[in-house]
């Protein structure tokens, strides 16, 4: 650590003859839990793109960093740490993707969407979520035993719900699920990932034309009539917003549902407790979010001025990665962090990030997870894995998850 700090004083472009830093990300773990948190609070790591970044692992430091105006989330900012090679930034393709923007642009787009996803509005959506969940469980049981919980339940539920909210026809799910899978898999070459994103953009452009001509009661129609028609946002920006919501809206929750079912099945006593006392679902979901931290590769940022994280100096132009999965296993905050314990009170987890970019869709994700897991555990009390846990295959993607989860009931 000390050695690295001294090297840093030489400036941000660190050509070192000393031991090469550890590679990041490490190979994925063989189970539902993240890799053990690195020992160092902050250390230099080497990214697959050949650049280096500071890996920040403590709960306090991760919170401070993600809340600090000294760091930018703008991936066009000099020094921004990228995990995989990407084609040069292109304004048409990055329009509206406010997850990688700073204030004031970020604030402008986020405020346009915040009330759509707030808790109050999710409450009114809950009957529809429940109906979707029950319908998916019926199709799971109709498929015959064993059946794949991912295909019949974990993936369709959030896909149907985000389609309903956005006004995207669910009938097109095979297309957009396929493209977002390609986009998010680490193994996809950059050109192919870009082609997948372009396919989705072209699809959404056509959808926007339809909504402009015949607005419905959905988010894309509202944005088209209230923001696009008024000139507040451009067509490319509306495409970007829709793309971000469509992908973030189904991939994340789908992976959480699949992994959560696996973890609950691996903790039968806590599963029984939850079944006997459905009021435990809120705490269970928070603990699952902490324990699984599906955004495994952490959140990238770049320092825009010389600053300090914890007691560590970071120079302007240096990249940092806030490792959420390490922060969520910080023993100072979560005692016996490696244990799954739905009674621990996990509310201070950072699975949704922290700072002004903290997940916009978290009220939706929570409603979906609570209803999906409550109905699954109540309606299928004999749910069991149909394979040995060691045979479960994981998805090596930007968002961690299981590929398939064969179950019986």
């Amino acid at each position: 650590m000390m050695r690295h700090s001294k090297m840093l004083q030489g400036g941000p472009t660190l050509t070192t003859t000393e031991a090469t830093p550890k590679s990041f990300p490490p190979p994925p773990p063989a189970g539902p839990r993240p890799n053990p948190a690195p020992e160092a609070a902050i250390e230099r790591v080497l990214l697959p793109t050949g650049t280096q970044a500071w890996l920040v692992t403590r709960h306090d430091d991760v919170r401070q960093l993600l809340r600090s105006p000294d760091f930018s989330a703008d991936f066009t900012a000099p020094g921004f740490p990228v995990l995989r090679r990407v084609p040069p930034p292109d304004p048409k393709r990055s329009a509206g993707l406010f997850i990688r923007m700073d204030a004031p642009d970020h604030t402008f787009f986020r405020r346009m969407l915040t009330s759509e996803f707030m808790i109050k509005n999710m409450r009114t959506l809950e009957p529809l979520i429940r109906q979707t969940v029950v319908g998916a469980l019926d199709s799971l049981t109709a498929a015959g035993q064993p059946a794949d919980l991912v295909e019949h339940f974990a993936l369709p539920v959030p896909s149907m719900v985000i389609c309903h909210l956005l006004g995207v026809p669910y009938a097109d799910h095979a297309f957009f699920q396929n493209r977002s899978r390609t986009l998010l898999a680490w193994s996809t070459p950059p050109e192919e990932a870009q082609a997948a994103a372009d396919d989705l953009r072209a699809y959404l452009e056509r959808l926007i034309d339809v909504k402009v001509a015949e607005p419905g009661d959905d988010l894309v129609s509202r944005l088209a009539t209230e923001r696009l028609a008024t000139g507040e946002i451009t067509r490319d920006e509306l495409v970007g917003l829709s793309l971000l919501l469509l992908i973030a809206g189904h991939e994340t929750t789908a992976n959480m549902i699949g992994l959560s079912a696996l973890v609950l099945l691996q903790h039968p006593e806590q599963l029984r407790e939850l079944r006997d006392d459905p009021a435990l679902i809120d705490d269970t979901v928070e603990e699952l979010l902490r324990y699984l931290t599906i955004v495994r590769q952490g959140l990238p940022r770049v320092a825009v001025r010389d600053t300090v994280v914890g007691d560590h100096e970071i120079k302007a132009g240096e990249g940092v990665i806030a490792l959420l999965s390490a922060a969520n296993f910080d023993a100072e905050v979560f005692a016996a962090a490696e244990e799954f314990d739905l009674h621990r009170g996990s509310h201070s987890h950072v699975a949704f990030g922290f700072g002004v970019h903290q997940c916009l869709g978290q009220p939706l994700a929570r409603s979906e997870l609570r209803i999906a897991l409550a109905e699954l555990t109540q309606r299928l009390p004999d749910l069991a894995l149909a394979v040995d846990p060691s045979e479960v295959e994981y998805r090596d993607a930007v968002i961690y998850g299981v590929r398939r989860l064969p179950v019986t009931w």
Binding site: S115, F117, M118, K120, L360
Partner: protein, 68 residues
């Protein structure tokens, strides 16, 4: 009895809703922008623990507490 006075900063708020989830009796979000609305700036003692938790998990640092 200790008193707890809350101030919120709507300019800093990013509408995460964490405060509303934690203490709906004290925090709300407006319909238009989804930003924090303070319902009760000096909540009774039985809500203090929850209010402190809400301030702690507010991602934007938009909730300020003064204890006296």
């Amino acid at each position: 009895m200790s008193a707890l006075r809350i101030a919120v900063d709507r300019d800093a708020c990013c509408g995460s809703g964490n405060c509303v989830m934690t203490v709906p009796q004290v925090f709300d979000q407006d319909e238009e922008l989804g930003l924090v609305v303070l319902l009760d700036p000096e909540p009774p003692a039985e809500r203090h623990a929850a209010v402190r938790q809400a301030a702690h998990i507010c991602p934007a640092g938009a909730i300020d507490l003064t204890e006296s």
